[in-house]
Structure formats: structure tokens, C-alpha cells
Amino acid sequence: MTDSIQITMICFAGLKEKVGSGRISLTIPVNSTCTEFISQLVASYPQTQVYSSCLLVARNGNYLNETDIIQDQDELACFPPVSGG
């Protein structure tokens, strides 16, 4: 079995409402990319499917690219496209 890591993630706005919490834990395979991480999130919380193609991920306050690797000690945030102003 592939090694996996547990990630704690904070979420905001419409995503927070869909998952029912501002902070959730997710188990993902080691060396998962950002895209794989989002797929895992949608698999675990099917109600977030509506956002699957547009979710943004940030690590320690910086946006991640689709191919960036998720690591377990990071502060990870996930949210739909922003709409301030």
C-alpha cells in the first residue's frame, strides 16, 4: 500500500458551506500534486463537485500551481475563486 499522509486544510466561502466546516482533515497519498489533492477532496466530499474545476489551493499564504506537491506540515487552504471588491 502506498504511504499516505494526513492533511489538515482550512476552507472558505462556498467550499466551507459545502463541507460543513472551516477546517477538515484529509488523507492523501504521499507526493500528491495539487490537482490530485483536489480530486481526493472531491472524492471524500462529493458535494464539492460543483467547485472541482475551479478550486484554488494556497500553502502558507501562497497560491500553488497544479503540479506542486502537497506536504504534510504545511498550512493548506482551499477555496473557490475570489470575489472581493
Binding site: I10, Y51, S83, G84
Partner: protein
């Protein structure tokens, strides 16, 4: 100026904050006035009643505070490379806003008006794309919608 206050960061020439309190546009404007500058540009984003034919009763704003402030800093740093901004203040509301209230304010001073208008336009466009703040529409008919532009 306090390094422990996550919702606001300031230096003499840059003031960035996210607040649940009403925005005072006169204070915001005065905070950037400078004798080296012949121009102060102020932009206010306010709560509009009608969007695409649908009537709004109020808005709720939510922010990822720490990242919103760091993103604003990044945008201001980028703007300062392009335009000679002397002083700049940006403030964004969170929480419940009624019609007509100020959701966001940008004030900045520059030697001349052209660069001031351009910088304010650039910053407001970028804020809407990258700063992690979201709005929820409370429609007059009682329904609600998170505004997520690409979803």
C-alpha cells in the same frame, strides 16, 4: 503598527487592513495626502442594489485574513515598481454590509494624476482576481448565493 495584528499591517507609506467596521473614506483619503504629490486618487467599491436584473438586499463578506493582507502587500509591491506611488491605503470590509455601504477603498498619492488613475485601476482589478475575499449575495427574494466568478 503591530506585528501581532493579522488583520492590518502598516508602514509610513503603506496601510493595508481588513475590518468589520464601517470604512471612513475621509480618513482613508487624508492618510495618503502628501506635499510631494499633486494627485490623490480615491476609489470606493459600494454595495449595489441591482445585479443582472436581480435585487440585492445586503452582502456578506468573508476573508482569509492573513493571506489577504500578504496578497495586498504583494500587489502594492508590484504597483510600486510600475508607478511612483508615494502613499497608499487599502481597506476592505468583512461581515454584513447593507446597500450603499463601502466594501473596499483604495487611496493613493502620486506626483501626477495619470499614474494615480492607472495604479488604482490596476490594483482594483488585481484585488478582484487574487485577494482571498468572497462575497455572498443576500437577494431581496430571500435566497442567497456565494459569488464565485469562474464556478
Amino acid at each position: 503598527m503591530s506585528s501581532t495584528d493579522e488583520q492590518s499591517q502598516s508602514s509610513d507609506c503603506t496601510q493595508l487592513s481588513i475590518t468589520e467596521l464601517p470604512i471612513n473614506h475621509a480618513e482613508l483619503t487624508d492618510s495618503v495626502r502628501d506635499n510631494a504629490c499633486g494627485s490623490v486618487v480615491l476609489f470606493l467599491g459600494t454595495v449595489r442594489e441591482i445585479t443582472a436584473g436581480k435585487k440585492t438586499s445586503s452582502l456578506e463578506y468573508e476573508a482569509y485574513y492573513e493571506m489577504a493582507i500578504s496578497e495586498l502587500h504583494r500587489l502594492v509591491d508590484t504597483a510600486r515598481l510600475k508607478w511612483p506611488i508615494k502613499k497608499i491605503s487599502i481597506i476592505h470590509r468583512t461581515g454584513h454590509l447593507d446597500l450603499g455601504e463601502i466594501a473596499v477603498g483604495i487611496a493613493l498619492s502620486t506626483p501626477h494624476r495619470k499614474e494615480g488613475f492607472e495604479a488604482a485601476q490596476f490594483l482594483m482589478s488585481q484585488i478582484k482576481e487574487t485577494v482571498p475575499i468572497w462575497k455572498k449575495e443576500n437577494w431581496a427574494d430571500g435566497s442567497t448565493d456565494w459569488v464565485h466568478p469562474e464556478s
